[in-house]
Symmetry: C2
Subunit: 535 residues, 2 copies
Amino acid sequence: MRRFVAHSARNLITRRRNNLTTCVLQHCTFPLRFLTTASPGYLSGHVASAGSASAPPLTLDTINPKVLKCEYAVLGETFILAQRLQQELKENPGSHPFDELLYCNIGSPHSLGQQPITFFREVLALCDHPAMLDRAETRGYFSADAVKRAFQILNHFPGRATGAYSHTQGIKGLRDTIASGIEARDGYPADPNDIFLTDGASPAVHIIMQLLIRSEKDGILCPIPQYPLYSGSITLHGGSLVPYYLDEDTGWGLEISELKNQLETAKSKGITVRALVVINPGNPTGQVLAETNQQEIVEFCKNEGLVLLADEVYQENVYVPDKQFHSFKKVSQSMEYGEEDISLVSLQSVSKGYYGECGKRGGYMEVTGFSPEIREQIYKVASMDTCSNISGQILASLVMNPPKVDDESYESYSAEKDAILSSLARRAKTLEDVFNSLEGVTCNRAEGAMYLFPRIELPKKATEAAKAVNTAPDAFYARCLLNATGIVVVPGCGFGQVPGQWHFRCTILPQEDKIPTIVSQLTEFHKAFMDEFRD
Amino acid sequence: MRRFVAHSARNLITRRRNNLTTCVLQHCTFPLRFLTTASPGYLSGHVASAGSASAPPLTLDTINPKVLKCEYAVLGETFILAQRLQQELKENPGSHPFDELLYCNIGSPHSLGQQPITFFREVLALCDHPAMLDRAETRGYFSADAVKRAFQILNHFPGRATGAYSHTQGIKGLRDTIASGIEARDGYPADPNDIFLTDGASPAVHIIMQLLIRSEKDGILCPIPQYPLYSGSITLHGGSLVPYYLDEDTGWGLEISELKNQLETAKSKGITVRALVVINPGNPTGQVLAETNQQEIVEFCKNEGLVLLADEVYQENVYVPDKQFHSFKKVSQSMEYGEEDISLVSLQSVSKGYYGECGKRGGYMEVTGFSPEIREQIYKVASMDTCSNISGQILASLVMNPPKVDDESYESYSAEKDAILSSLARRAKTLEDVFNSLEGVTCNRAEGAMYLFPRIELPKKATEAAKAVNTAPDAFYARCLLNATGIVVVPGCGFGQVPGQWHFRCTILPQEDKIPTIVSQLTEFHKAFMDEFRD
């Protein structure tokens, strides 16, 4: 094991390059290009473009500096290295001390073996090829409620034309279904005209950032640690990320006093704070907010005139009996706040939950408390891409209105759903316990979402070794872990953390038969790493 | 008929509002909000948000002015009015002098009755629900090559996991297929690493604009008339549109002297021109460039160091025997220009061609002649949205590698394809002839794409009536046409045109059984309009 750690450090040193980009949030100073220029095949795998001296004039000095500045750690350096290692393993089996890569870097359940929910896929297939519905013999191979649902859905499309552009906000009938699902979830009314269906949740984040950010003097309050889509999108649109720190010691607690302090600090720097981002359940932190806490947050946004951007894509992923998901819409309605009181954007996605259909790129934002004029501007920006993909729209309507108890599919659907969620809960607990058993590592429980975010106290020698190769200590640790075991995690610097602290994000998504391997590899690696670098 | 024209003009006057936004390109000064605030139901159909005095503080004065400034005419005012009329017809049949809306505003073939290509949908359905492949009895209901293709495609996905995120650029095996398709089309090599699969072509445009535009001092040479995605994206990203005018008198010819003049003019204003947008076949203009013209364009971009952004989404839509589509990649390769000579982005989409699968949101950009460092920046921006939707990716691979002559589906596939393309050619010719028969209207032929862009000489009284309701004359004409006949077109001001000239864009997409109705309605309306306003 030790040799891999040393080998990895040597590799880092050998390949040292000048830095060009640094992590927005902390000095994760291991640039993306470091790896890709050093290794052909992945991004730069074609000879012709490999840096000819007379290449066309576009250079890093002449592109938009906001692009240069933004980072997206989840698919950043560690992932790119992992892809290279995977290619090397394929071309040269035995070239690394592991047989396969274990991707714990990204919340993509199906890529690690989770199976799709049968009912959802039946409906999607029928809607893709409605000719099957017209033939009794093919209908017979689908559950009765999938057939019924497919008919219902196709009836929302004039001429069954699922190949046409939809309304920019999405097919009205599907938005009706989603609105009903929101009402059933919250116990408060929802309006289909408030819903914008999007390709996953990410485009919604960009639209809101585009709307709000005028210059670097506009700030967005963002949790630290945060999902780097937010920091990336804020940077790309030229705004300022105003950090508020979640309190690791209280299970990643969100303190209103911290929000107020950071808001005041931002104001004193001349920054106009426009919005507050809250990720609940948390990514990468896994906490589930208490309803009373959410009430305080709503009150804060109302008083300060901030748009509340509620990332609620993990609403179905809650694993502990003492916590429950409450949407911010429900909480603000329960406080009797309405359209006049608070501007609220709630994000949902088909990529998460028990369904985990990342490849379908379905999602929506529910937009309330914006004036008609502003809504038209949101519509206009969304309309430039015409509409989101129809399969994703259909799937979004399905996850918000799954089979009911009297439906033929209900039993198998429930069994599939429960198996996934209970397994995720077990995996979360197992991995939490493993992390807490490692020297110098502490880890809050994952109450929800799909991640653990353990903190590592790294020995001084390790941080020095990292510094010598011009990288953040947790990025160094993640890279050593990857080179030694094939386990891919994302270093904490990509999410932001209290300066001087180090973490990494590890998903709970490997299937249960892989967990023992991960546990033993991780434990063995960590011991070797600490032995190598212990002060 | 006359009463509808007059009624329409009165309506415009009654609903007059203050202007807030103006067309980027010309004074299409009929603001989006004009219609939506005047009419509940479509965008602002919920009472709670209808402009309360104590609404949250976000106002048109405090949002990003770039958002306020950008326009997207295709789904703009005329379309929104059309949606309202459709709703009114549904709720109150007979309330308008037509029974149905005829959407000639948008290139969405399936919404007007075009059927999907069976082979493509079979493969999509099988990939959505692979369980069907495992059962001989269900396999039997699909063509043998669809089954084979589905197996081939699923083999590109580890564990057949079409529900996982893919590589940001798209599934490698699908990019291999697309690269082979490009090679077969062009006769020159294509590299799968150059391909970025995207949700339709629009996200690729945004990525390139984000990359290139640093401030309003960066300019993008864009044809006038142009597809307003370009003007919208340039505005949204804070750049300057540098217009070059297509010459209507020579069939929307693209003159190099015009490019040079406009480039010099832009330079003299302190604008750094970064890229040239060419839409071939043209949108909204329908011309197909000659290869010699393309060579001149390539030479121009090479000499001036401009990125050539080639919108080639209509590459399968060519209707005249004397013209042929040539990709800019092929043209530049035939000139023996390679990676060192010209930075080229070629866009393709599953939404156009004979397939017209707009709802699937599939597409790609092929990126050549960018240094590895720049490619990494493109990758990074794309990675923030993780990947494009998998069904769209699969479909993109299918359209670039459709059934071959020995495949079981070939005959039916070819019949479907040929029927669609030959029908489009007939419709293009019929509508072109009709427009040319109208008083004061001239119309170039649609050599390709999906549109005609007739020019109208409007009588002075009509332009005055338009001015009285604070709208552009062609927007006024389009609105009157819609109110009288239900035919939806997009006024020329949304695409840009020589100042003082007026046009509208009309798709060739209504099915052939609708064409006689459109011809008679249009002719009757136009006569009534001219009689009403003739000087």
